[in-house]
């Protein structure tokens, strides 16, 4: 650290004259906090996989069973759900929020701000398009799966469309899409505050 001028700056003198509160460090606490953060980040990284893999296994079993039973429509639907799970994992891994930002914290102020904005923009895009990359593929798969079963039971398209399971499935996915859109709107507000989006966006 160096002063450019040899003249003492009264503000600097005043600043440094602050009563010092000793900075006591507890290495065990710091290491414990860092380890806890590492665990949280690891869990966040694996969370989607913990959910997606068992669901993929269940739907693969269901698809196989429907195929063996001769219900091709349901089988295709179940396979679409399985494919969607892997697609979602890919999208989250490729475009999802970065879990560990230790490296970014060492960037200079401008670069950090730019990185932070880019991260928010990416997350906002992901949230606002969740209906497309998240809800739609699974919804199509589940709808086809249910429709195949309804056809096998002798129901027509109208009966299936107005059945309780269909309406519940649709409602759940519409709610998920709406929640994501609300979150994206909140994020847009933060981006406006950061000057990364025009206020009218």
């Amino acid at each position: 650290m160096s002063h450019e001028s040899t003249h003492p700056d009264p503000l600097q003198e005043l600043w440094k004259a602050q009563a010092q509160i000793p900075l006591e460090i507890d290495m065990n606490q710091i290491q414990a906090d860092a380890a806890a953060l590492d665990r949280v980040l690891l869990a966040r990284d694996r969370r989607e996989r913990f959910v997606a893999w068992p669901l993929a296994a269940i739907f693969t079993a269901m698809a196989t069973w429907q195929l063996v039973s001769g219900n091709t429509l349901s089988s295709v639907g179940a396979f679409i759900v399985v494919g969607s799970m892997f697609w979602i994992l890919f999208v989250l891994r490729r475009f999802g929020p970065r879990s560990d930002e230790s490296a970014a914290l060492g960037l200079d102020g401008q670069a950090f701000l730019q990185d932070y904005r880019s991260e928010l923009i990416r997350q906002r895009r992901l949230l606002s398009l969740a209906w497309l990359w998240y809800c739609l593929p699974i919804l199509v798969g589940i709808a086809l799966f249910n429709y195949g079963i309804a056809v096998a039971k002798g129901q027509d398209l109208g009966q299936w469309a107005l059945s309780v399971p269909t309406l519940i499935t649709l409602g759940v996915f519409l709610a998920v899409a709406a929640l994501n859109l609300v979150a994206a709107r909140g994020m847009a507000q933060r981006l406006v505050e950061l000057g990364a989006l025009p206020a009218k966006d």
Partner: protein, 183 residues
């Protein structure tokens, strides 16, 4: 392998403790313009220390250690403030008012220097984040070149902004003095 890991951790602990010894007072002063409440200041310091501890393993010496420490500290502080949200900002305004009134009381009662420091901190806290960072780094005694490295600006830009911020601080201080004289 286990012994090597233990040795690495031990040497990192040593480096970290040296770092805290060197920059601890500066970090303490710095958090004072991001948080007014003592317990929140302690939380922020702990957040910064954890980030420094985790980041130390990634630090490759591409910049000076002091530059890196200030970058991490300010970035964590900025993020911390943003995460607290607007509701907390309103609280901060309230805290700022409290600090101001406390400073006014101190003016009358006791140490003028203490009051001047509080006033300076209050004015700095009211600045936009980049200006706040700039002025804190300047007050810590960093040169324009060093501030430029921490903030990712050119030295000329730093000097220009610094002149502007100092003028702003001077005006704010003068306005307060004049208000006090009239009341």
């Amino acid at each position: 392998m286990q012994r090597r890991t233990a040795e690495t951790t031990e040497s990192r602990t040593g480096e970290f403790q040296e770092l805290v010894e060197a920059f601890g007072p500066s970090l303490r002063r710095m958090v004072g313009v991001y948080e007014f409440d003592r317990s929140l200041q302690d939380d922020l310091v702990q957040e910064i220390l954890v980030a420094l501890w985790r980041g130390l393993a990634l630090f490759r010496g591409e910049s000076k250690l002091s530059t890196w420490v200030y970058r991490v500290a300010h970035n964590v502080a900025l993020k911390h403030r943003r995460c607290r949200g607007r509701a907390r900002d309103r609280q901060a305004e309230f805290e700022s008012d409290q600090l101001a009134s406390a400073a006014n009381r101190v003016d009358v009662d006791a140490s003028a220097k203490h009051s001047a420091i509080d006033e300076l901190k209050r004015h700095i806290a009211a600045l936009p984040a980049p200006e706040r960072q700039l002025v804190v780094l300047h007050l810590e005694g960093l040169s324009s070149t060093e501030i430029a490295e921490v903030m990712g600006l050119s030295s000329t830009n730093v000097s220009t902004r610094l002149t502007r911020v100092r003028a702003k601080l001077g005006r704010a201080s003068a306005a307060r003095s004049s208000k006090e004289t009239h009341s």
